[in-house]
Symmetry: none
Subunit: 415 residues, 2 copies
Amino acid sequence: MRHAELISTGAELLSGRSLNRHAQTLARALAGTDLALIRDTTLPDDAAAIAGALREALTRADVVFISGGLGPTGDDVTRQAVAAVAQQPLVTDAAALAHIRALCQARGNACTPDRESQAQIVAGARALSNRVGAAPGEELVLDNRRVFLLPGPPREFLTLLTDHIVPWVRATRGAEPMPTQCLLMVSGRGESDISECLAADGLVAEGVEVAYCAAPGRVELRFTGLVAAAVEATAARAVAQLGGAVYARERLELAEVLGRELAARGLTLAVAESCTGGGLGARLTAVPGSSAYFLGGVVAYANGLKERLLGVPPEVLAAQGAVSAATAEAMARGVRDRCGADLSLAVTGLAGPDGGTAEKPVGLVFFAVADARSCHTASRQFSGDRETIQESAAQQALYLAWRRLQEYQEAKEST
Amino acid sequence: MRHAELISTGAELLSGRSLNRHAQTLARALAGTDLALIRDTTLPDDAAAIAGALREALTRADVVFISGGLGPTGDDVTRQAVAAVAQQPLVTDAAALAHIRALCQARGNACTPDRESQAQIVAGARALSNRVGAAPGEELVLDNRRVFLLPGPPREFLTLLTDHIVPWVRATRGAEPMPTQCLLMVSGRGESDISECLAADGLVAEGVEVAYCAAPGRVELRFTGLVAAAVEATAARAVAQLGGAVYARERLELAEVLGRELAARGLTLAVAESCTGGGLGARLTAVPGSSAYFLGGVVAYANGLKERLLGVPPEVLAAQGAVSAATAEAMARGVRDRCGADLSLAVTGLAGPDGGTAEKPVGLVFFAVADARSCHTASRQFSGDRETIQESAAQQALYLAWRRLQEYQEAKEST
């Protein structure tokens, strides 16, 4: 394996303001390659400290990444620090300058000297185009080591990793055998539930490592090993054991997978949300092209709107309460009718922190999926803070709609 | 200010599995003290690397924290690494051993040698009690610097910070003056736009440092300096120069600030969303207690729903298009009527990546804010990818509603 180090720069990463996600983003981008991250050094925007850390990293690593400090303001000093180590001046990159000027024009901003200064790169470096921001990345060779400068904003950092870094790492990889990885995306089951499933005798083959990465409403499950057949057999046994909970075999959002299935079947979807407040629609519309199947829906946060906009009968609200299977069902049927959708989803629950009772505690959420013939309801008791409950509920709703489509398929296949 | 460094240890922090939150947790715990975090070095569980990083940190910092690697398994090597640097043996701490034995008994676990090994500390160190886990922390003096070893699990790390570290930092604080900080939360203007505003002659007083932290739709602006009057005068001039763009003077989300203003005035809000797809409602309902002022609304992603659910006249859609001021206005008026809200907000635009034209490019978004008497519209051209445009649009909508409430106040004050 080749070794990489990351130097993350930015006062906000050490003041408590921002969480440094760069190491995780970089490590995930490098997963499955022969380049392993062995150190992350997080520093303030201090040119001397950055230069010192770069010199040290060059003595240990094959590749050094530096993130942040490429912006237009005075506290952005990374290119100056690297130029000092390289003993090179800064020069203007013509393509980067043209890109910045075009961006300023498109955004209706004045193309000030500050903004144009982002086109400066270390002499001898190659500029790496940035299609989601102004500042280019840079690639240069120092002491026979490869050094990459990447912008700090998370989206730009990730985009440059995808566009430039990962292709370079793959193109330059050595001849040693690479471990095989199998990824399973799991929803509808928690980490310890999955862990119990995998504890079955002989399920995980010898030499295969299991890693979990849990997020609200879903778990990323990764099997790694040098023997490809053992890794793949383990993954196949896990899929069988986990039933319908595995929704993808690559890192995909549930909203994407559901969207593909809806598009493939030519079906449309509408949503009625209470405790998720719009988060379900937001997840669905985060997917480019979602207008092909997602119509929209109603956020009925106040109970009055559940009646006015969705036609939930007041007697259902009075007898069963807003957090009930009956209300979820009435919401799903109501939004389906009003939007003229093939399929509809409804969510109503208690996100907290207040409003829970012994009978209906915080975290209790009801779901309904309706189509022309039927309406299925379900409930789940989530734990965690408000944000976690809202995110878990939105994911679970997407999962239930996806499962419903799987059931169509299974019914079709069995007839 | 005294300087602290953190050494975070753990293979999972560099493999992509876990996010390293220790630096943020530590920095937030130290906020308002005279101890500033100047570096975080994240390393795998490698005794030589940890020892090397500790030796380097001792040359730079007054206090060194090491997190992780105090557990019972073979990959926990922190205490061995520190013992090597201190040139001291490991010894068993009697109180820590008693605590571990009691914990094993309470949990019904066998008290194995592995578990008991967590009571070992570097000779000469002081054990720091851990009321939420087995392994004690450690405090020792090396090269006249204070070194603290803290357990890696986030809850234990935070508990030891609260129980032992923060009290020690406060008790030992020096006599030097503390820097003053002023934070301004800015919306409706970009980072370089703000930077230009602040470039006005004499705006930023001498000795005052400016730092920016940008996210879609908002910028955190921080002024820091040793002379409180200079920092405060700079912040006051920046507020005046930035007009109504400063929405808070502490780290708050726009949705929170808007929610407080709505609650204080006893007003209710409804939203009509197209390109944000629910993201505006999701931001509003992320705030606990938002049901006091947020009623809900309509996600009219498909044009048909803009007519069916919001009453947007088909002739407006035909003549002006869905992405237009007229449609935004009709959406705002429609959702306000249908929800019975005091105030309403509408967003319609092109989030991309496809669907743009020369006349209406991707990133063009129209907004409307309606109340009983009037409806104000606005448009913005955002750049970036789909997610950035959606997030920027949601933030801008919240900003416009907040501005509208400020105008009520200003109108009231001027009469």
